[in-house]
Symmetry: C2
Subunit: 483 residues, 2 copies
């Protein structure tokens, strides 16, 4: 058994930070004259108390040197604890959510999923709306830092491909994360500000612009309106958010490199090319479908197609229209896109483009070998050969992904959900997309009507999907805790 | 470019054999006084003419030595040609099927899928019913011979695991197939006869017993009745067929070994153990679900659960009840089972148990490596280490499987099918199960109402699923035909 104290100490720091973050919506509510500020003040107090207590009881053991298991545990623990305490404002507020609902909403937020149980966003106090956006925004930057600093070292599901040579020992996780975090935050804040400004110019209120910019760049998908982005009914808003979701889906390391004057990655990285090609193809196909089969106006079709395809592909989950109405083809396409996700090292979720590429390259080499059994076929990724270890890793990941999806679909079915809701609910949770398909949880629906047990199952799936499955699964192995 | 003539010569032999097979239903119709015998006589004549012509024009090039590409082409060609000509009786008969429908029915037969477009089986002439059963029965033995003699040598999707040491060069395909075919046919006929006898004793007519035994052991699923096996409403019939489907799903090499006095494989093979464990678990879970949630009588629940789970798992597709009525859980479970299939070297289809095992072992080794980065974790199959080449093969297979499934679902959606029909139709075709889910093509439905284009797409998917995808896909590679 390894020492828990260093892990808990960092969790304590995180909680203290979360408490500080709660003051922001409190301030907004106070300034705009809503009594809801008390909700956040109370939540912040509870969170601060727990955070400081945790720090005080464990500070003797504080260290910046974590071993592998401590790093795994810390990762999962941070996300769980932020959801546990991030739920407090939802529970204390006028919304009077049960703790289950509040936890679901917070977990959906911090995992940047975007599934919601709240009905009546249009009349919700601004503090709560900001809190939802903040959770997603923090979850977004959190995952980017983790994907760059932690996951490659943990070798989760092929992420070892992105190991930076200089830093590959577990002891350096924290210093590395800290080093990245500064520059990353700058980029993250910058892109978000840019997106907010564009939305403001396009006609959104300052508040809505900031909230939507946060959840766009985080590819989270929480809106301040019940009708989601459809509420604004503006082509320029749609296109700005489409662009923002794409920006959030590219590897943030490419932006860092660009800042240093090296824009080669942004232009030549094969992951980025694949991602843009898939987004473009899906958007065009969905456009043609709408024009040809549903007699839509070409420009409208283009706008709705790109917005919704990119929203599902990137796992954002904003909606401007109920694409369930586009028929079986669009629903199958969306189910497909749901699984893919964006680039590694971005705020997106899902299987991720690089895994699709590695799987594709492996299958291609396979086909070549069938044709020429004595030929040499080595699958490549980004012009480098893929080591067997990585393709095995990716295979393991895909298998576990499918298994989790099917088991979750069965569990949801067993809890009484109909087939489409169960299957698409499982897919949307594990891929952190947000809305599902069908009447209940589709773009026009809401998760509030699901049974409590389903909400807990979905919360667990969101957590697993967000942390690349293995990071969570490994905690369930008895040998993790033993020796 | 390689020589086509030796391939076409063998196809000619196959067609001549098919023409001979058509005389059997002709004989039955003649004996039972149905004018339909003429349909088969005419079809046999056409088929014989084409077969003999093909043999005559290519006999100068006949050989028992095929190269790798010829072997690939032959495999696909045999299945396509048998479906093309096997469709004739359906088209010429009183059913007056279009050629599309007739081809769909024949392809569904010879691939042992069991999806049907025929409404009114209860009033169909016995010759046609026998023809459907015969197509599946021949397709069943055909695939076993292919899986034992051909596929391991072609290294398709991990099948190289089953290479028998003595025979691993393409030149020996035909002699090897011939060698196996004799003993195999004996076993196949024996098990079918046993099943038919049991069904006869359980109260079926001789004709129904033989037809159902054929489609049970072939895990095909064509029945002689519109209500499928549900028509007989007999617990003993249900259990006999359940046992028969399981017999058809085990590797036939185990039976051959048993005949030689070596029953170790039947008792200790890990593939067989996994298959039985999955079947048992699914059956028990579905039983408990029905008793607990739908207040079913335990014995009835047991019978329906096992029959339908085994029927879907093995890709047979017989129905005794509309399990869509069991709710979202059962439908998700069935979707899961649909993909798995039975053992390699059996008459079943789907991903197959050994690939599930290899994928599982790879994922498990992955998890071990995460816990102990410097430990050595080698995935095992049947107590032997899995070579990287094989796990890459299996990964390639699974990726292509999922891709084909998703593309097919989208194509079906684009052709106007609703989401559940499109998704389950794609799954059922590529896994060669038979019925889909939902109202249209579910256990209570029928494929006749689908648009023609959907029937062709499904036919192609059945072919691909039956021939382990790569065998067909490789023919689409331009380099296959070039050099």
């Amino acid at each position: 058994m390894f020492a828990l104290s260093p892990v808990l100490y960092i969790v304590g720091i995180m909680l203290t930070g979360l408490a500080a973050a709660m003051l922001l919506p409190a301030l907004v509510d106070l300034m705009m004259g809503y009594a809801d500020w008390q909700v956040f003040a109370a939540s912040a107090l509870v969170t601060l108390f727990c955070g400081v207590s945790l720090m005080l009881t464990t500070q003797g053991k504080r260290t910046t040197v974590l071993n592998l298991r401590q790093a795994f545990l810390l990762t999962t623990l941070i996300w769980v604890v932020v959801a546990l305490f991030g739920a407090l404002p939802f529970m204390f507020s006028d919304l009077e959510l049960s703790y289950t609902d509040a936890f679901f909403e917070a977990m959906s937020g911090v995992t940047t999923t975007g599934s919601t149980v709240i009905v009546g966003l249009d009349n919700t106090a601004p503090g709560l709306l900001l809190w939802r956006a903040l959770l997603q925004w923090l979850g977004g930057i959190g995952i980017v830092v983790m994907a760059m600093g932690l996951l490659p070292m943990l070798s989760v599901g092929g992420m070892q491909m992105f190991k930076t040579e200089a830093f590959d020992t577990p002891e350096k996780v924290l210093p590395r994360a800290a080093r990245f975090a500064g520059w990353l935050s700058l980029v993250y804040v910058g892109i978000t500000a840019l997106c907010a400004l564009a939305l403001y110019i396009a006609g959104m209120s300052g508040f809505d612009a900031i909230a939507h910019a946060m959840t766009t760049i985080a590819t989270g998908g929480y809106s301040t309106k019940d009708a989601s982005v459809g509420h604004f009914n503006s082509a320029s808003v749609d296109w700005i958010i489409t662009a923002g979701m794409i920006l959030g889906s590219l590897p943030f390391i490419a932006y860092l490199k660009m800042l240093r004057g090296d824009s080669r990655m942004l232009l030549h990285d094969s992951q980025i090319r694949w991602f843009l090609t898939i987004a473009l193809s899906a958007g065009l196909v969905a456009t043609i479908w709408q024009v040809a089969m549903l007699s839509a106006h070409p420009l409208d079709a283009l706008r709705y197609a790109f917005f919704n395809c990119v929203s599902v592909l990137t796992g954002t989950g904003f909606a401007t229209t109920d694409f369930s109405q586009w028929g079986g083809f669009a629903m199958s396409l969306m189910l497909f896109l749901m699984f893919i996700g964006g680039c590694a090292g971005s705020t997106t979720c899902g299987i991720k483009i690089f895994r699709v590429q590695i799987a594709y390259a492996t299958a291609g080499a396979q086909l070549g070998r069938l044709l020429r059994p004595h030929g040499v076929f080595i699958p490549h990724f980004n012009r480098k050969p893929i080591p067997d270890e990585v393709s095995n890793s990716v295979m393991g990941f895909l298998v576990v992904y499918m298994l989790c999806f099917l088991v979750l679909a069965m569990v949801l079915g067993a809890l009484g959900l109909d087939f489409v809701t169960a299957v698409s609910g499982a897919a949307t949770a594990i891929s952190n997309v947000g809305p599902g398909l069908g009447d209940v949880i589709g773009p026009a629906g809401n998760f509030s009507t699901l049974p409590d047990a389903a909400k807990w199952a979905l919360s667990l799936a969101m957590l697993m999907g967000r942390l690349e499955l293995f990071t969570v699964l490994i905690l369930l192995a008895p040998s993790f805790w033993r020796g």
